[in-house]
Amino acid sequence: MLSIEKLNVSIGDKKILKDFNLKIGKGEVHAIMGPNGSGKSTLSYVLAGKDGYDVNGKIMFKNENIIDLEADERAQKGIFLAFQYPIEIPGVFMNNFLKTSLNAVRKAKGQKEVDIVEFLSLVKQHAKKLGIKEEQLGRALNVGFSGGEKKRNEVLQMSLLEPELAILDETDSGLDIDALKVVADGVNALRSPNRSFLIITHYQRLLDYIKPDFVHVMVNGAIVKTGCSKLAQELDKIGYKEFQKSV
Amino acid sequence: MSDNLIQEQIKQDYAYGFVTDVESVQAPKGLNKEVIQFISKQKNEPAWLLEWRLKAFERLQSMTEPNWQKPQYPKINYQDLYYYSAPKSFKEGPKSLDEIDPEIKKTYEKLGIPLNEQKRLAGVAVDAVFDSVSVGTTFKKKLEEIGIIFCSISEAVQTHPELVKKYLGSVIPLTDHYFATLNSAVFTDGSFVYIPEGVRCPMELSTYFRINASNTGQFERTLIIADKGSYVSYLEGCTAPMRDENQLHAANVELIALDDAEIKYSTVQNWYPGDKEGKGGIYNFVTKRGICKGKNSKISWTQVETGSAITWKYPSCILQGDNSSGEFYSIAITNNYQKADTGTKMIHLGKNTKSRIISKGISAGHADNTYRGLVSIHPKASNAKNYTQCDSLLVGNLCGAHTVPYIDNKNSTSTTEHEATTSKISEEQLFYCKQRGLNQEEAVSLIVNGFCKEVLQKLPMEFAVEAQKLVSISLEGSVG
């Protein structure tokens, strides 16, 4: 599904990712854990194709190097990023945005575009599952949403767009335990043999709800240790200090 | 709180209004070639400087005073002023601090400015200007050891003519506007600072200006040059005796920051503001401008303006070097019949230039307070950023608060942001404080100081306390 080879990323003189390597197979769930400033969020941005970074290396997605593709092209190929801080766009309404996005992705996949009636029934169905009120769909994108509402909105978009690779960037930050559970349930419902996940997180908490197949520890822009889900629990006890020392 | 009580609280007396009794040497009254030649001769100036002054004077003949400002003032009779006044004992100039007239020393002691190095404020070098001449500079030796030149500008003309000649008038051209040109023609003294390449000035440099003689205009000239990679923090303070007539203060301050240099310029201005009926007080018509000439350079203006009958000044930054940045932090408090029209200009010429403007205006009594500012982003200033915030606080309903910003953006990759608010101290805020046990005066002082906090924090430690006191004194308890 995804194979990252010797990925180097920097902004100006500052190196953020250094010879970063990662392979994610079809249907696998990977978690990347690491302290602040280890380059986790940069990794998610670079995978999604954000401008403003000097990027070198290979990002193979479904056997194609996507490193030169624009963000929309990557999204159309099936990469989805659930943002840590979903942006507020006043005046751009949820319904209009979701429909435009859904149809852009469907068009790229060669699927029929949905009309407004189909769209509304589809979006309501998904929204209901996530406990998103219909009223929220009539509001401007993320404007005035609470932290929990924003994260739920990200999961809603994920379920609508049906990506093949979903990257969750600190999706658990700022959520109380109930909201965390709703979001985790939403993600779990989307797990399938055809869909891979990359979960970026600080704490082990989220991984109690979404069980990963692999856990990676990231320090100073590279993966320093890989293990199974037990590693997450260990980390919770010993912290990242041990790993930081060894680098 | 009753209106009477408010009135009583606003009436804060000017603590620095005494006159020092010293004999002085004055140029004859009036503005003409002879007076300029007299000044130049008194100071033993080289020919090029006299020529420069006369050129300014000639230019002045075809200029008129600007008249777009909010505060109006009666016509100034420029022929009725003295343009040069020096304590007689200084005719030869002070050789060392020990030679200073004890009367003048006493004056500075009353003002809390130590000219005696033993009793100095920790780590502050002071240049004191009394009427038209510099009376003494402290810490000169220590600064000289690391190559810093800190002296009066008259002295610099003698000892470092090449630097003065190169930079004088390079930021504020001879022809800039009426008061700046007037200053170029008749300036008497002021401070000169040169920080050599790579040197961080280890102490705050400071000038205290004192207008003593009557009917005297004060026209000082300050020139600060920060060479590559250097840093300096400079502070000026000002006071004047109480007199019934208005006195004119038209200074020029020029700052030059070369590559990677930083200049921090702070002002605590407490000129005599006039009496409660608006009689007397200083007209503070000052031109202050800095240029960030080199890349990554920075100029920061901080001002606390509590005095003067009329304050009319716009400390500005020309951001020429790429990645350079300019800052303007201002508190302007006007009370009684005081008027202030102040703000800044940020001229973005270079790439990635940044500017930040924080202005706090407080009006009480019959006062008028105007923020006027220009943010101009030129077509070549890619990725320039500006942030402006101006807040006004009104105390009583006989005063005025005005905001006049000009924002011109000519580059699509650049960002300007401007926010302004006008408000009074709300009953809710007062109630909240009182409910927590503060009395009215404490509550108002707390809220006003809170209102100004962002700016007060920018002052060097040594002066922040003084400024904070001034803010409280000017407005304590004046809200009901």
Partner: protein
């Protein structure tokens, strides 16, 4: 024609204004109020345009809106036809402005004021057309005023003076639709609006399809107790326009809401000037303007809130936002406050930026191509103002305009 010259009082006022103009001439960049104005250039280059003499003109029926409304057709400044529906017929009075002058000759000083402004002086002196409109009661349907300027006025100047009165307790919606098919003409329209006690006026306006001409529109609106005025001006595809408004909130609880949305491209220039005078207690004003600027276009916003000493408990808000899309476009703003009362809440915010890259990335990360994503952001940016329109029908009408504009 020129019936106006028959009225002695009017004639005197016109001569006064003309003398004033002759003394001061056209405004220049040296006048603070006209510093950034592009009208200056046009007027400088076209000083000698002949004044258009009014005539009977043909109505362009193609621009009619297809929803039910009351119609007023003004072609080159003159009323050509009116069609009012049902009961509204009895609630609307309309007449040429000179007829109003004749029967109200004692009441004219107000309509000929503002002599400090040179262009108003010219308008006072030269206006030969215009209308008087009075609304006597709540209207069931909106009025659309079709302002049509055709090629007859090519390379001429036309001055129009209007007076609108909304009677006590009445509500009305007036939509002014401008169409221009003329070149190198200078059109000045000076409209006085009185909104009496507890009356409400919604005044929407569209500037569009304006080729190679220059328009100066000045409105002076007096708002009495508990009355309110809501205005929205939408500008797209124009040449040189200055929209100026002076609002007097003369009695307590008077309110005004001014909204502007504009998308300027090519060499389009739009200048907005607002002066709001809070002259009584408990008055409220709100300004919200959003501009998208592209090409070599220029946007200007000068807005001033004045609060009189007696106007306690005033609220005045002003938000001005612009997005610059190209290297050569410019935006100038001057959000001004002049305040003499202490118990007030006034604020202004102004920003100009490039298109938000994070917003663009978010949309593209959802698969939306760059071009489409930009359009969405632009449309969203402008629709934030349009959403403020309180009349549902016109809100949707203008939302559709923002979409069509980008199609």
């Amino acid at each position: 024609m020129n019936t106006i010259t028959d009225i002695k009082e009017v004639n005197e006022l016109r001569v006064l204004s003309l003398n004033l103009f002759n003394k001061n001439g056209y405004p220049t960049k040296k006048d603070e109020d006209w510093k950034q104005s592009t009208l200056n250039n046009f007027l400088e280059n076209n000083k000698q345009l002949p004044v258009y003499k009014n005539n009977k003109e043909l109505i362009n029926e193609k621009v009619l809106e297809n929803f039910k409304h009351n119609k007023i057709f003004i072609v080159n400044g003159l009323i050509q036809r009116t069609e009012f529906e049902g009961k509204d017929k009895d609630k609307i009075i309309i007449s040429p402005i000179d007829e109003y002058y004749k029967s109200n000759s004692k009441n004219l000083l107000k309509l000929f004021s503002n002599k400090k402004n040179q262009l108003i002086a010219v308008n006072n002196a030269l206006a030969t057309s215009g209308f008087y409109l009075e609304i006597k009661d709540n209207l069931d349907l909106p009025i659309i005023i079709y302002h049509q300027f055709n090629s007859v006025i090519d390379a001429k100047q036309l001055h129009q003076k209007n007076y609108i009165v909304i009677n006590k307790n009445s509500k009305a919606t007036v939509f002014e639709k401008f169409t221009n098919d003329n070149k190198k003409s200078f059109i000045s329209i000076n409209t006085n609006i009185d909104i009496q006690n507890n009356a409400h006026l919604k005044n929407y306006l569209i500037n569009s399809n304006n080729i190679e001409n220059c328009i100066y529109r000045f409105k002076k609106v007096n708002i009495e107790a508990s009355a309110n005025y809501e205005s929205f001006i939408f500008s797209n595809i124009i040449k040189t326009i200055r929209d100026e408004v002076e609002i007097n909130l003369t009695e307590s609880l008077a309110e005004c809401y001014l909204y502007y949305a504009q998308f300027l491209k090519n060499n389009e220039d739009h200048e907005i000037k607002v002066k709001i005078n809070h002259l009584a207690e408990n008055t409220q004003s709100y300004q919200f303007s959003k501009s998208i600027i592209d090409g070599t276009a220029k946007g200007v916003y000068q807005g001033k809130i004045f609060v009189d000493q007696i106007a306690q408990k005033t609220n005045g808000y002003q938000i001005i936002k612009s997005v610059l899309l190209s290297d050569q476009c410019t935006f100038h703003s001057k959000p001004e406050l002049e305040i003499y009362a202490d118990d007030v809440k006034c604020s202004h915010g102004s920003s100009s930026t490039s298109l938000n890259k994070d917003e663009l990335f978010y949309l593209m990360a959802r698969g939306i191509p760059e071009d489409q994503a930009k359009k969405l952001i632009v449309q969203g940016f402008l629709s934030e103002v349009v959403e403020k329109i309180s009349d549902e029908h016109f809100k949707n009408y203008f939302l559709k305009k923002t979409v069509d504009m980008l199609a």
